[in-house]
């Protein structure tokens, strides 16, 4: 620094030439500029060779030192140059005035060279330190911006793996989540999936928040996808066991390390066909309210990723026979303190949920958020906040038609009418027509191809079963009849081929079949099954079974998701 200090320029301002000379010689180690009056001093200060420090005489003819100082301080270009007054005046009020004007120090006359040198050196060093600090601050600000930009980008990636409320409401029509990261990115995340009849949901709280938490959340999200969607593990306890093993192996846990990175999880699997909810918790509880009664499943006292505990997670089964609200959450909401250091607390959350559970989910979300913010007040959010609320409704199975016996034409017609009538209050005319078509084709198939027949008015009529059931937004058609091995194999091959085709291919094949110049036969146009698959966009599942007297039964199963068929 002493090297640099010598490069500093000092402006000496005094009307007395002898003073200028004395000061000049004392400060001969520095670069110097000289002014014999106030005007000249300002000119130099505003000029190209700006001084780093100014020694300023107070009493001068014309513009005095105070005025020079005032002008220097009001100009942004010169306001940071330290000014030291050199004066014979030592009255306190002058010093006060000078300091008020922004001077950093006073040097009394007569001049003592060691005092001058020491004070000048001090103030130059101070000034340089201040400049360093400013530069560092600027660098910090830049780094901060760079890191913030980078984290903001990371947030976009994190948001991309999280489903939107709309996507989640496709799985659970009555649901909401409260998701409030403490920082830009979050260590809490929610996870939803739907496979066949199962709807899976999880609230996960990874250790830490901010960037480290977010990294863990990506690992957790990936592992849940793998375990549930790829490995098809469906039991909540098993899912958590697997997740635990994978987190430990992925993060190469050293059992001797006292801290570990992991996650607390509350997870539920809802079987909408059986109306059963299964849950498991890794250090997280599951709350649910059924028939106005509040229940809590405490969850196991072990986090995911804790290499020291070998416990396996417990699955609890809950029968959903009436509307049930389920809540899972990270501890961010209950741990939030207010200005008096009081936590929001689990008991307050339970009380609140109890009072709002029957409200619409959007309303519940609004109230929870308001209550949380009211409690928090001006206090900083302590941790990431996540709460998921889901209303589960038991699905009723509605039998539309159910028949076993000979499918005479009259029976086919009357079953068709029954189907029309019974579906009327649930589905749109367009949907009913589609289902009528499917059921009619299945019945026609039994009429024509069942190996078991009766003879009526000299006509051979097939015997079989047709069953149409509505379960929530799912419609199932099941039919079976006796068949020969040969015919079963043929039908199975044909249908599995149709199932493998996409919409355009099915359309092309239908056109091809219609164009074949053959006399159409009474036994259908050969496009029945193809049209069912094409119109419902659902595969027909064909299986066989043997009845007690070892006769081959062909079974058809078609599941139509009415949510997918528009209108």
């Amino acid at each position: 620094m002493s090297q640099e200090i010598k490069d500093q320029r000092i402006l000496i301002v005094d009307d007395a030439l002898e003073n200028v000379e004395i000061l000049g010689s004392i400060l001969s180690n520095y670069k110097r500029s000289v002014a014999l009056n106030g005007e000249k001093a300002l000119k130099i200060a505003f000029g190209e060779n700006k001084p780093d420090l100014i020694l300023l005489d107070v009493l001068m003819p014309g513009m005095d030192g105070f005025e020079v100082c005032r002008r220097l301080k009001e100009n942004p270009q010169t306001k940071d140059i330290p000014v030291i007054f050199i004066t014979a005046k030592t009255e306190v009020e002058d010093e006060t005035k000078g300091l008020e004007l922004g001077a950093v120090d006073f040097i009394p006359k007569p001049i003592s060279p060691p005092v001058v040198l020491a004070r000048v050196k001090n103030h130059l060093e101070l000034k340089m330190a201040r400049q360093d600090l400013e530069k560092n601050n600027q660098e910090l600000a830049w780094h901060n911006k760079y890191i913030t930009d980078s984290i903001n980008y990371a947030k976009r990636i994190q948001s991309a793996i999280l489903q939107t409320e709309q996507q989640i409401q496709k799985i659970f029509p009555e649901s909401f989540y409260l998701y409030k990261p403490k920082d830009i990115v979050s260590g809490d995340f929610y996870w939803f999936s739907e496979t066949e009849d199962l709807k899976i949901f999880a609230a996960v709280d990874c250790t830490g928040h901010g960037v480290p938490g977010a990294f863990m959340s990506i690992i957790g999200n990936t592992l849940l996808n793998e375990i549930v969607n790829m490995l098809k593990i469906k039991d909540p306890g098993q899912i958590l066991n697997r997740l635990d093993k994978r987190v430990i192996s992925e993060l190469q846990k050293d059992i001797n390390i006292s801290t570990y990175d992991g996650m607390d999880v509350a997870l539920g699997v809802f079987d909408s066909r059986k109306n059963i909810l299964k849950v498991a918790g890794a250090y997280r509880p599951i709350y649910y309210i059924q028939n106005n009664q509040f229940f809590e499943i405490k969850g196991d006292r072990k986090s995911i990723g804790d290499p020291k505990k070998e416990t396996s997670f417990t699955t609890t089964t809950i029968k959903i026979d009436s509307d049930t609200e389920v809540y899972i959450f990270s501890d961010g909401i209950t741990d939030q303190n207010n200005i008096d250091e009081k936590k929001f607390s689990a008991s307050k959350l339970k009380e609140l949920l109890n009072s709002i559970h029957s409200k619409e989910t959007t309303e519940q979300k609004k109230i929870l958020l308001e209550q949380f913010e009211a409690h928090r007040g001006e206090v900083t959010q302590r941790d990431d906040v996540l709460l998921i609320g889901i209303r589960l409704q038991p699905l009723k199975e509605i039998n539309i038609i159910n028949y076993f016996g000979p499918l005479t034409h009259d029976k086919i017609v009357s079953l068709g009418e029954e189907l029309d009538k019974n579906l009327q209050s649930f589905l749109t005319p367009k949907q009913i027509k589609m289902i009528f078509f499917c059921a009619n084709e299945f019945m026609q198939n039994i009429y024509n191809y069942s190996e078991e027949v009766i003879t009526e008015e000299n006509k051979s009529v097939g015997v079989g079963s047709i069953d149409v059931t509505l379960i929530g937004q799912t419609l199932e058609i099941k039919s079976f009849n006796k068949t020969s091995n040969e015919s079963f194999e043929r039908v199975k091959d044909k249908i599995s081929y149709y199932n493998s085709l996409d919409e355009d291919q099915l359309k092309a094949l239908k056109k091809e079949k219609l164009a074949v110049e053959s006399e159409a036969t009474s036994k259908g146009g050969g496009i029945g099954f193809l049209e069912i698959i094409r119109r419902t966009k659902s595969p027909i599942i064909v299986t066989n079974d043997f009845d007690p007297i070892n006769q081959n039964i062909i079974k058809f199963y078609l599941k139509i998701n009415l949510g997918d068929t528009n209108g």
Binding site: H409, I412, V413, G416, E417, P429, K430, K433, M434, F436, F437, N440, E441, Q444, K511, K513, L514, A515, E519, A520, T521, S522, K523, G524, G525, G526, I527, G528, E531, R535, G567
Partner: protein, 124 residues
């Protein structure tokens, strides 16, 4: 040549074919017990008209439901009418469908693509 008149049932359409004017109409649902049996006289009438009457032909299809075997018969029937149009007589087909009846509309569109005679899609 006689007109062809078949009463409508729950599972078969009304047939009203006029040999004198060439105006023909098919109205209703079609999933008869035996499609071949039901459509045989219908095809026979058309064959006779084509060979004996050889005048213009106007067809109105007002069908609201077709099972798969009926689709096959109607497809061949439309094809026959279209071929007849190629010998120099006027042939016109009106294919009616109800609002939002996608399957019937789509079937009409498929036929329209295949034929060369005048084929109108009419939303009722």
């Amino acid at each position: 040549m006689d007109n062809l008149i078949i009463e409508k049932t729950k599972s078969s359409p009304a047939i009203n074919f006029n040999a004198a004017t060439g105006k023909c109409e098919m109205v209703g649902s079609s999933y008869p017990e035996n499609a071949s049996e039901f459509y045989t006289p219908v095809f026979d009438w058309l064959n006779n008209y084509i060979t004996q009457v050889t005048r213009d032909l106007y067809f109105d299809f007002k069908l609201d439901y077709l099972n798969s075997s009926s689709i096959k018969f109607i497809s061949e029937f439309v094809d026959k009418i279209d071929k007849y149009g190629k010998i120099g007589v006027t042939v016109e087909i009106n294919w009616h469908f109800r609002d939002e009846d996608e399957d019937i509309k789509e079937l009409g569109e498929e036929f329209k693509d295949e034929v060369s005679c005048k084929f109108n899609l009419i939303e009722d």
